[in-house]
Symmetry: C2
Subunit: 192 residues, 2 copies
Amino acid sequence: MSNTYPEFIAHIRRYVELSDQDVAILEMYVHPVELKRREYLLKEGEVCRYNYFVEKGCLRMYFYNEKMVEQTTQFALETWWLSDYFSFARQSPSQYYLQAVEKSFVVAIDYSIQDKLFREVPQLEHYFRIMMQRALAASQLRVKMIYQLSKEEMYTHFVTSFPQFFQRVPQYMIASYLGLTPEYMSELRKKR
Amino acid sequence: MSNTYPEFIAHIRRYVELSDQDVAILEMYVHPVELKRREYLLKEGEVCRYNYFVEKGCLRMYFYNEKMVEQTTQFALETWWLSDYFSFARQSPSQYYLQAVEKSFVVAIDYSIQDKLFREVPQLEHYFRIMMQRALAASQLRVKMIYQLSKEEMYTHFVTSFPQFFQRVPQYMIASYLGLTPEYMSELRKKR
């Protein structure tokens, strides 16, 4: 049993078996990051060295559009992984910011030790294959919704599917994620 | 050496080692699909049972929007994998069509035998983890471009990055993928 990362270990064990020794090895390789609200894990131009698991809290990924307005592209709540996978895989500079939306506790896996970790605990390949496939399915769905739904339908879908977001995430971030202006979203909220 | 799927086996070997015996096992588990131009691999409402590797040819994924117009969300050329990963992972009905853009030859892995295959050739977990991560990185980039680029910039980016598409894929499919009307795209083509 892990006392340091209970959600992290429990989540992996939903998909693969981990012996106590595997857990001990895993805990040697990953490291914890405690984040204050609005603290950064990554800024544009930096190389994204880590893949992050949200043990507690909420992260978001965003970039600045041509009007220098923040455009949020992804959120990650508890048990989700988040990284700029392009920058992570190539170890090239990122075009994104990764930020804690609220006080958060995340587990970081360093790109440079990942292969070694997978050799020592090979069942993690399976776990991460499933995690990447799950995130890919979510991303395919995201693209579909952008093309399929009107702004109002996007909002309704989001409110219905993820009501907890509205308690935890500032309105302007959700508006940006949904491609709405904050003013239009506040109109939609009043209508409901 | 595989005579049946040379690209497929060579592609896997770029990422992991496969013995001749591994190749023989793999070839027992996968199956070839020959497609005529415009032939379907999947239609809306069907369960997506397979993950497809493009050995030769080109696939696309699309759905019908509320105006009953085809909206292409993804293409896959040689050495790319394509599937509706939501439908594939849950074995639930798909909202998409998967279609051959041109005469194609693809390699199909059946969802129902995947786990057994991975137990017999475990290094495939690594290969597919990398493939899923690569596709996820591409999908993250796609979302960013949708929000960041104007219609004209989308077009220019696509022409510059993937010139071969314009020789192989009908204009209206590319226009749909880029979120342009066919008329507007043909204007942009004339401008260049």
